[in-house]
Amino acid sequence: MISILLRKRELKVREAIIRGVYEENLKIIGKYNGIISKERSFSLKKMFLTFVISVAAIFMHVNYLSPSSFFPENQVTANIIIQRPVTLPVDPDNPSDYRTFISNQKVPLSRMFGLGVRTIMIDPGHGGADTGTMGKMGTKEKDITLDIAKRLRDRLKKYGHYNVLMTREQDMTIPLNKRVELAGLSKADLFISVHLNYLPSKPINIIETYYFGPPSDAKTLKLAEQENAGSQYGLSDFKEMIEKIGETLKLQESKEFAASIQKNLFLNIKKETGYAYDFGIKRAPFVVLLGVDVPAVLAEVSCLSNREEEMKLNTESHRENVAHYLEAGILDYLNKGETRNEAKRHTERR
């Protein structure tokens, strides 16, 4: 009798497992009807945290150097031509002139002083228990970002003169404060965080790139809240970090870096797939961008809510291409915009 019961129980387990395998495979081909896409929750606690960051960022925005040069009202998109250097006369005896000079300066300070980039830190978004967003086929943001980041690392390493590091090389949970800490410890000169977007209401693929600043709209604020979840920073940490934002070099460079990434990503993805939308470069109070002392951007390289895009992201060739476009964006930025925009042409040259 006991053996019959055990046998029945085993059969039940086996049936459940077989059904699980079947459902997993239905998900892969997009025929599974169960609710699998995960939308991020927006808890009151997180709302409060985001509010605090935003208020602090706006406070900084008002009190620090000329805000108009850092956060222009009109959004800068990837398609615009970045203006070339314009130098202003400076009176060496008048300290306030330096402030005016710095705040109005169109020449990135790193270039003015000939600062080079040796260490590039790539941050694959999410990881471990934090899956990020998830497509209808079950594709997880954390897996795609890790794969693209690894491909980007390999591509940049081939040049031989960059020390390319990653905040994570495996599927593991790393709090945002740890990522920021890693960038600081490794003395990174450039920081790029790779993420995927999710637009539940619209079946489109959008490309957008962020650098640190007060949010330009409600959607950006919500996105920042999502990406900041699990930062493990306290309010005092935020205050300290926000005070640092007066560092002109970082702001200038981050904006230009974001423009370069966005331009290369959008133009090439649009050319490759034909259905991408350019949402341009934007400001947002992402913790991971705020805490890093060097030029830093967060690139939303694709949109997992778009079914076609999710299918494409499941192919190695598309992920390799995205890494390629990011590489072109980084090189374009590092080479002062002299690199041609299209990553494919860039390859041919090498």
């Binding site: 497992i17 395998v21 081909i29 499941n314 190695e316």
Partner: protein, 342 residues
């Protein structure tokens, strides 16, 4: 019995395929079992095609002709230098070739369950389905350690550690299909051992000429952890002359280099579970994959884990076919209605 009747009626050949980084195998319901090394080679040009006499080479044949073919090990990251499409084509070729080796009858439908490394499946599932689906009538894709667990009836309270070439996959079974939290992948596996061995040998014998393929063969032939009584001497050319080299210490160091990560991940995986289940899982740890053939690895792991209480580690009987046999069992147990939409 019921399934067998359906099989007869519909003339279906069920196949289980283990698509590994280093070796791939097939087990079919017509009792055929075959394996190849996961290498695909296409003749580089017209002349090499004429010399080789084939459009595509597989496994050891591709390796032996590696100077005249474009060689591809499709499931390995980093080796492919000539574009990614090639690796997708290579997966297609391997599956096609394995199915040919299973010798299906001309009118037979092929229903396949394919086991792939856990990490590969996460982001390449559609590509793998696409590559495989051309060769079969219906298809399901699962992770390798899960296929091993299913085949060995380790459905509950067990931990399968599949030590492959590219990755070591951990999979805890607790009566349901393993979720992501139940599985973990680390990169300390066969290829890592090869890298270590290559570097140790280069350091000790800087004037000797050996390549990575030779190092892999040394590992496969002599791998061990802890201690073995026999000496390990291999022939490696120095200035063109074959010279015997003692590589025992280097082989041991290279093989033991994966053990700390293996032990740490095993304890971490087990610790996630309720203490009551931890005891059960610790007594049901199974090593699979080519890495389970490393001499002394079972005892090494078992002794290391004893620190955390009594445990029992065993190895699969046939690591080469454990994955494909499990995948075949899954294919045969799958109700016919589940095959239809896939």
């Amino acid at each position: 019995m019921k399934q067998k009747d359906i099989q007869k009626e519909d003339n279906i050949l069920f196949v289980g395929i283990d698509l590994g980084t280093s070796r791939s195998s097939i087990s079919a319901s017509n009792s055929k079992r075959e394996w190849i090394e996961s290498y695909v080679g296409w003749p580089k040009d017209f002349i090499s095609q004429q010399v080789i006499g084939k459009l595509v080479l597989f496994g050891s044949e591709a390796l032996n002709n590696r100077l005249s073919v474009d060689l591809c090990r499709p499931l390995e990251r980093g080796v492919i230098k000539e574009g990614i499409e090639k690796s997708e084509d290579a997966v297609k070729e391997i599956i096609k070739h394995l199915i040919e080796l299973a010798k299906p009858e001309s009118a037979q439908k092929i229903y396949a369950v394919v086991g792939v490394p856990a990490d590969t499946l996460k982001i390449n599932k559609l590509a793998i389905r696409k590559a495989v689906s051309e060769c079969v009538h219906s298809l399901m894709v699962v992770t390798e350690p899960f296929a091993v667990a299913y085949g060995m009836n380790l459905l509950n309270n067990s931990l399968v550690i599949d030590i492959g070439a590219g990755t070591t996959d951990f999979c805890i079974m607790h009566g349901t299909i393993p979720s992501e939290e139940d599985q973990k992948t680390i990169f300390n596996a066969g290829d890592y051992v090869d890298e270590q061995l290559y570097s140790y040998l280069s350091e000790r014998y800087p004037n000797s000429r050996f390549n990575r393929n030779m190092v892999r063969q040394f590992k496969e032939q002599y791998s061990f952890v802890r201690e073995v009584s026999d000496e390990i001497h291999v022939e490696i050319p120095v200035d063109g002359k074959p010279v015997m080299h003692d590589i025992k210490n280097e082989v041991r160091r290279a093989c033991e280099s994966i053990m700390p990560a293996l032990i740490e991940t095993t304890t971490e995986m087990i610790a996630r579970f309720d203490p009551e289940f931890q005891v059960k899982i610790k007594n049901n740890i199974v090593l699979a994959g080519g890495g389970s053939l490393i001499r002394g690895i079972r005892e090494y792991l078992q002794d290391a884990l004893k620190e955390y209480g009594p445990c029992n580690v065993s190895c699969v009987q046939d690591p080469l076919f454990a994955g494909s046999d499990g995948a075949l069992k899954l294919a045969q147990d799958m109700p016919p209605k589940y095959w239809e939409p896939l």
